[in-house]
Symmetry: C2
Subunit: 425 residues, 2 copies
């Protein structure tokens, strides 16, 4: 039975200068393939400690995946140490040498400021004899896979921008090919249920599943379940996944807002495009967060043209036409204001749907009657108008950003529902 250990090499991780995201990316991939993972280890750029950590890792696992220590400087010793473990010499790998030279030529041609190529850079093309070399399309250090002694060592560069694509495009296919399998996965996106709640509802089921598997991921405050199947063919994998997706959609019809849609804003932009609709935003407490998230999506300019952040009451009146009387009597944080903001931005922009937020993000500004976390999100369209009252405070410190984020998320969810209600023309 395969088991793997991740060995990250980098003093900058031990000093806390960077967070170790590589381990998560690799762990997730290996969990998908069904390779057991019992240990992560981090060591610095120190040859003796690296050697010891490698020996411990191979004493308890047959696969060791390293990141880091492939750089051009004297203290980058991963290849040397691992080649030594397998009893292999290093030799110049001509295609890698050529790729490094071309990399620097491209940098020079681009006119961007960069360090010149040195002899040390060419050291990065010295590879363990007989290894499988993995080209690096995002940097200079190639990766390598060594098989021998019943063990496998997989070496990748440390920068996540280089490691990530190499892992997805070269290491995962290598491991899958070795297992004689193909992998397919789908992401089921939830909104309106916490990760711990969803996990506790599905824990027994998830633990009992072997293939397909189901794993929860919290991503930017939303929850996503990933269903992954291993099979001989892609078709077989999809056939295995279909009942899992169907069962979840039947169990959580209101909480699931999409499959393979990335996030709420992507789902909303897609739905708008499909129906040929446009949206405009009027924001108070979210201060631009809502329009920022919509315009994150490439191609959003087709469905979004106008957003107004009316932080001040005068702007709510002047640009959005919120009534002075409403602001005077029930105040800016109210159902009435939310609705008038949504109506106002729809009128001003000519969009099909107006979407609004107004609330108290904190830490100051709350009262007994209108506490921090009270938010109204509103929608206005020819076929549906609605305001939701939300209570988003959780009682933690520094909740301002969380409240703003959740307010924008609820507005996007309301937008999705409104798009879904559009009667056919």
């Amino acid at each position: 039975m395969d088991s793997a250990e991740i060995l990250c090499i980098g003093t900058e991780i031990l000093l806390g200068n960077i967070v170790n995201t590589n381990s998560q990316v690799i762990s997730r991939g290996l969990a998908d393939i069904g390779i057991n993972m019992y240990h992560h280890t981090v060591v610095g750029d120190n040859p003796q400690r690296l050697k010891e950590a490698l020996e411990i890792a191979f004493s308890r696992n047959n696969i060791v995946i390293t990141t880091g220590g492939l750089g051009p400087t004297y203290d980058d010793l991963t290849k040397e140490t691992i080649a030594d473990y397998f009893g292999l010499p290093l030799e110049m790998h001509e295609p890698s040498r050529q790729a490094i030279i071309e990399h620097f030529e491209r940098l020079r041609a681009s006119g961007r400021r960069h360090a010149p190529m040195t002899e040390n850079n060419l050291k990065q093309a010295m590879m363990p004899k007989g290894c499988l070399v993995m080209p690096n399309h995002n940097g200079t250090a190639p990766g390598a896979i060594i098989e021998g002694k019943g063990k496998i060592a997989i070496m990748m560069p440390g920068p996540p921008r280089e490691m990530g694509p190499m892992f997805q495009n070269q290491v995962m296919p290598y491991l899958l090919k070795r297992s004689g399998q193909v992998m397919r996965s789908h992401c089921i996106h939830f909104f309106g249920i916490g990760e711990s709640q969803l996990e506790s509802e599905l824990r027994e089921e998830m633990q009992a599943m072997e293939n397909p598997t189901l794993a929860p991921y919290a991503k930017d405050g939303e929850v996503m379940l990933r269903a992954t199947a291993l099979a001989k063919t892609p078709e077989e994998a999809e056939t295995m996944l279909a009942p899992v997706l169907q069962e979840l959609q039947e169990k959580y019809p209101k909480l699931i807002y999409g499959v393979d849609v990335n996030d709420l804003q992507t789902a909303a932009v897609r739905a708008l495009r499909e129906k040929g609709l446009t949206v405009a935003t009027a924001e108070s407490c979210t201060g631009g967060y809502l329009s920022k998230r919509i315009t994150e999506v490439a191609g959003s300019s087709e469905v979004f043209g106008c957003g107004i952040t009316s932080y001040a009451n005068e702007v709510k009146e002047k640009l959005l036409g919120v009534s002075h009387r409403t602001l005077e009597t029930v105040g800016a944080v109210s159902e009435e204001t939310a609705l008038q903001m949504a109506e106002g931005v729809r009128r001003v922009s000519g969009a099909d749907i107006g979407l609004s937020t107004t609330g108290i993000a904190g830490p100051g500004g709350g009262s007994e009657e209108k506490p921090v976390g009270l938010v109204y999100v509103g929608v206005s369209s020819a076929w549906h108008s609605q305001v939701l009252e939300l209570h988003l405070a959780r009682g933690y410190d520094n909740e301002r950003e969380l409240i703003r984020y959740l307010a924008a998320s609820h507005a996007l969810r309301l937008l999705l529902r409104t798009i879904g209600m559009k009667p056919d023309a």
Copy 2:
């Protein structure tokens, strides 16, 4: 000489469900105090592997800091395993038991949905005999410190929201007290220089420094250097830090935008408040990102009232008064449009300063003449108006968010400069 290892316990880390941020927080703190850190290890909730990992960790270090495995379920065995290592029995710790009961009473009183208290929760109050108990103000599992056999074990809960405050408020003071020192640090914020560039310029200097130390952190695309001094008194520590700060400010007068200011938006809001000025934003390619960042700062409503996201040209004309002719002749992505947007939003809002962005964030929409990454940021005020032309593409995949983020950062930097130019009244 002290050296420490971090041992994180949690199967969810090995499965890649979460990223291990705890290790970074702890590493950074220990680096500040000057405690050497040579290894991070992660193991799952498995008693045998936990025991082995603990023995390896103590064989090579005198301090082991654990996170996780303090929960109420049967597979949470950190306390048992570590107590066993020190030969200590577990016994009920009455104040912790009381705190857990009160925690659940507060949850019930708040009316929020939550799991009921079970006997298992009270197991969390069983502590190794004679240990120093660390109360948990953000959850149910107390932490613990055990000293014995010339070793120190420090146990903290796994959730970052619980671990973080316990580490900062209880573990750091414990370690500092033990070393007979106090610590002071200052953050020097840079904009306009990459982390690798700054690091290579200062590497030798940073490596030669022992106390104070200087460490680089990349935070959300900006670079920050943290200078930390250990001394007998706070005054002595500050005296040691002063020349470091002064030297950096003399060396990088244009690149440093503040000390201990958190980020560009906080620096900008503070500067606006100090001078009694207000700003309004007119955004195209950043789509609300700029106003989102300004309104992240608590209290920003004093200095910011109005933001307009004019993604569509009609909105640029109608709401901001950008001339139709300008849009027809030089286009939306131009110096002229950026300036008219900044002027327009200043006029509409009555703010002292108008700030604008217009550009091509990609991935589509670029041309030979106006490539992806071309951005103009503009400022308009009674005393200073200016437009900067920026080229923000780096040639990586998926640069849209990076380009938008950098565009907003450059706009905030331009805002800071403009505030600084305001003549005294």
